[in-house]
């Protein structure tokens, strides 16, 4: 279990959030406050609404009802500019590794010399130092996901959302990515991450949101949720039982 880390960046507060399609509730979260000091991991079976919640928090999907607030104010463009998201399958621009990072740094209006320096330090951080000129689409799965995380971090985000970033990776690639996530968290970036991997939650989470059928069935300190879950759904999921 991971110790509590330093830093308490932008608090995310959800109230009355709901999304329904064809009469079926896909997401129904009356209240959720993500104010823990370290990474928040969202756990739950397929179709639990984890990715949907993540997209609502990042403003990629507008809920039918309810709102998302950051630091007490309704999520706005200024907040979104300080958020970044990494997807399950990394979406890399059809450019070189360095150009993928340069793209976001340019958007931040960073001067050319500073961009060059920042790209070098980011690539070193992600272990991609020798691959700056390589086409990004020719990277391996692990390298591609590391580049996607570096690109997100290049935005200097207050909050970083990750949607199952290691689901298709081997243990070694997963470990490298987990280290990057922890380093970002230690620097004060709020991490909100979706995973299926209970081991990963054990390694990374400061607090855990357990979801099922579009609802939050439990939210609490990682130790508490993992060792003494309060809800039946959490207990079944953590025991590896079938949760429907």
């Amino acid at each position: 279990m991971r110790d509590v880390v330093t830093g308490a960046p932008g608090i995310l507060d959800v109230s009355g959030l709901s999304i329904a399609r064809n009469g079926k509730a896909l997401l129904d979260v009356p209240h959720l406050c993500l104010d823990g000091p370290g990474p928040t991991l969202i756990l739950g079976p397929n179709g639990a609404g984890k990715s949907l919640l993540l997209r609502c928090l990042h403003g990629l999907i507008q809920p039918d009802r309810g709102r998302v607030c950051q630091n007490g104010a309704v999520l706005n463009a200024r907040h979104k500019a300080r958020q970044a998201m990494v997807f399950q399958s990394p979406v890399l621009l059809r450019r070189s590794v360095a150009a993928n990072l340069d793209f976001v740094l340019k958007r931040r209006s960073m001067p050319r010399a500073e961009r060059k320096h920042r790209i070098e330090s980011l690539l070193d951080e992600g272990g991609l130092g020798g691959k700056a000129r390589q086409p990004a689409r020719s990277l391996s799965g692990g390298e591609a996901q590391r580049l996607a995380i570096l690109r997100a971090l290049a935005l200097d985000p207050e909050t970083l959302f990750l949607d199952e970033p290691t689901s298709a990776l081997d243990p070694s690639a997963t470990q490298m990515i987990e280290r990057m996530i922890l380093r970002a968290s230690e620097r004060g970036v709020r991490i909100v991450m979706v995973t299926h991997d209970i081991g990963q939650a054990r390694r990374l989470a400061s607090d855990i949101v357990m979801m099922q059928a579009g609802r939050v069935v439990e939210h609490g300190k990682a130790m508490q949720v993992l060792e003494a879950p309060e809800s039946d759904e959490s207990r079944r999921y953590l025991a590896g039982g079938l949760v429907t």
């Binding site: 990629l60 958020q83 970044a84 998201m85 997807f87 621009l93 450019r95 958007r107 935005l155």
Partner: protein
């Protein structure tokens, strides 16, 4: 058969000896078609990309219309451009009829829908893949157009080459608006038609060989680009 062989030999010697008239026709053809394709790209590519990312009422109808325009009959285009440029037409004052510019205009009308439709197709596929990521990075729909055009560059070069293939092989429209005037508006295709009717098969064959050579070269370039795209992971999924 012997006559064909002899005409063919003459055609090859016209090419190899650098016959001035023949190469002047080839150069004029290239000049007209390259200009036409570049202008079509400047108009068609942003229009295609905008149609791929924008959402507005009537978009679907516009796409259907654009796709239909890809199959415009060249003689009809030639006729319409002729009417526009003729002395009594709305653009008659420009006195462009029977000039290479008129031929460029006709080819632009023919090639622009091809360029726009192919661009729309390529960019729409890419936009689908990039959509969430670009929104997450704060890139608006409008601002995503240059990003998508740049990232689809290899596929767009293929579209450019396809447009060039259509333009260089075109005869119906350019003969109407160009008039096939010797040393002024005579291009490869119109010369082939004229020289064949005159029985000068050597010149027609020589131009035919060059035209086929160009088609092969264009296809080889498309193939090389596709290969490169696959190697560098630049091809669309």
């Amino acid at each position: 058969m012997q006559s064909f062989a002899s005409e063919f030999n003459q055609a090859i010697s016209l090419i190899l000896n650098g016959d001035a008239e023949l190469w002047a026709i080839v150069l004029l053809s290239l000049r007209v078609s390259v200009f036409a394709v570049l202008i079509s790209a400047v108009i068609g590519m942003p229009v295609g990309a905008a149609l791929a990312v924008a959402r507005f009422p009537g978009r679907r109808a516009l796409i259907i219309l654009m796709n239909a325009l890809m199959g415009l009959p060249p003689v009809v285009v030639g006729l319409l451009v002729y009417l526009m440029l003729s002395r009594s037409g709305p653009l008659g004052v420009l006195e462009l009829l029977y000039t290479p510019t008129a031929m460029i205009i006709a080819q632009v009308v023919l090639v622009t829908p091809i360029m726009a439709a192919l661009t729309r197709q390529v960019v729409e596929m890419l936009a689908e893949e990039y959509s969430e990521q670009l929104r997450s990075l704060g890139v608006s729909r409008l601002a995503s157009v240059p990003v998508l055009l740049w990232d689809a560059r290899l596929a767009l070069v293929t579209a450019l080459l396809a447009g060039f293939g259509r333009a260089i092989a075109e005869v119906g429209a350019v003969i109407i608006v160009g008039g096939n005037i010797n040393h002024v508006t005579r291009v490869m295709t119109t010369t082939i038609a004229l020289e064949t009717s005159k029985g000068n098969l050597a010149m027609a064959l020589a131009l035919g060989v060059i035209l086929i050579g160009l088609a092969v070269a264009v296809n080889a370039m498309v193939s090389a680009l596709t290969l490169r795209a696959e190697r560098e992971g630049l091809r669309h999924a």
